[in-house]
Symmetry: D2
Subunit: 177 residues, 4 copies
Amino acid sequence: MATQVIVLNGGSSSGKSGIVRCLQAVLPDPWLAAAIDSLVEAMPASLRSSSAGIDFAADGGVQVGSQFRELEAAWMEGVAAMARAGARVIVDDVFLGGAASQQRWQKALGGLEVLWVGVRCEASVAAGREVARGDRGRGMAASQAEMVHRGVVYDLEVDTTHTESLECARAVAARVG
Amino acid sequence: MATQVIVLNGGSSSGKSGIVRCLQAVLPDPWLAAAIDSLVEAMPASLRSSSAGIDFAADGGVQVGSQFRELEAAWMEGVAAMARAGARVIVDDVFLGGAASQQRWQKALGGLEVLWVGVRCEASVAAGREVARGDRGRGMAASQAEMVHRGVVYDLEVDTTHTESLECARAVAARVG
Amino acid sequence: MATQVIVLNGGSSSGKSGIVRCLQAVLPDPWLAAAIDSLVEAMPASLRSSSAGIDFAADGGVQVGSQFRELEAAWMEGVAAMARAGARVIVDDVFLGGAASQQRWQKALGGLEVLWVGVRCEASVAAGREVARGDRGRGMAASQAEMVHRGVVYDLEVDTTHTESLECARAVAARVG
Amino acid sequence: MATQVIVLNGGSSSGKSGIVRCLQAVLPDPWLAAAIDSLVEAMPASLRSSSAGIDFAADGGVQVGSQFRELEAAWMEGVAAMARAGARVIVDDVFLGGAASQQRWQKALGGLEVLWVGVRCEASVAAGREVARGDRGRGMAASQAEMVHRGVVYDLEVDTTHTESLECARAVAARVG
């Protein structure tokens, strides 16, 4: 059956969004990107630094509150509805809750053909790329590198530590039905 | 009944996104922004300059093709699903098709409580703001200023020609149930 | 004598950068923009939140330290050198020190033909535009609106409270020799 | 003698700006970034798509005209003046003219202690990173990969093909006097 949703999960600075853009370039059909970063951008500015919303600590820790969770749950339903309406969607997320995050997506995406992809990157390399980007708080990459994969089950894993985004995207594309 | 979706329609550089941010700041509950510009960003780069996708002409004209229409239709379903799942959503769109665009939204948002808002700005003023932004092709503001409102029915209209975004947002917020 | 440098001074969200882009569009010769915001972007990330660099307080207050001052002084010399080498330059600055800031520029720009322009905006309106932008800390617009003009002498003042950027730019352009 | 200017030269998508941010993070003193991309941003919008300014062809070719050259020459003088005034500066440039571009910088930076760094990246890898970025015209990376290094003499070369930005930055930092 044809893949309807590709879910990429990985820590901050693991290279997910680069893989998304390469997937959009190499897949023959048009795929829509749905990134958790875009959801955060779509929230009121006040939620981007609040305990009810999402809070980025100085050490790289990220805490989300009840209002964030409610909007995120509705967003997941929206992404599922886009796919059911015929759009091919690539989700770019950070499973802060590991297996529990995957279960939330599995519930929202029920009945859809999903390809689950883990995007790994060695913590020290991701931390270096965080410095090179310059637009992220220091510490997120290292603190999330292992945590987001705990208990998560994938169809495929790619590792950007020594592999370019485009090559990772080609490996994912080869698994798209 | 409580408003679930606010739809802002207006031409390029009419000031919609500023009103969205002000609405997010003045409304007591958290509202999510769903902007047509973000949809365009979420599409493959190849669709952003193609006849099947969206094409920006040198004179400010905008043409959309079949692949754009398909992704847009699925996005509308997704926005509706987010609202049905409990998120309050502010749509920020440019009705290139006027009344026909509104009908597509009406169909997608069926059963939801929607506040329709027209965002007007005199063509010459919008054209000047287009120059001041510097990130948009010249001519879009003027060509869209009247066109996008043709045949569209609103609950409320605001005009940014002589009224600040925050004041417009307060007028809209006063009508939110 | 031909104007070599235009210095725009105004508080945060007073509309300076929009006027710069309009000036670049309406002036017949090519003019280069030199913005204090770009200087801050060019500094190491660590200086953008440090007492030795530049520190943005939660109430909108801005403090700059010794390392910021040193880089800023060198930048002023660089801007002057660009103008002496034949580039026409539009400076977009926030005179946190009022008259003292102007004196630093006067010293750096010695021998050049400078047009000094004050960009004013009523504090309440600038504060509303700060909300509409959504990318600046709240409070900067209001706290800087009057402060940056204290003791500063201008060739020309424009006020964006009720006048569009393009119209302000035309008023400035009419004074460029 | 202490290094006053670091000049990084490399093709589009070779990884220069990531190395700049890492250098700013690892060097003990504050260094200012001066990027050719920022110069292009500082020019009038009309020059960014004109034969007198800078023109990006569909095949990745870049042509610059007389007005661009004049502003660029003045910018080089400005960068040199910043360094002479005491700022440590990292230049991030693309030597479209190879050795001739280096000679222009050598003339502007006369008397200053300069560290010349070549940033290499295999054309095929740079082309893949161009796709992953998604914000650059396709073809620039491949067409510039070799061309920009022709006849240029370096104190040090780094290659981002298999080496992370942070590691490259550490190699450069070790040579800073």
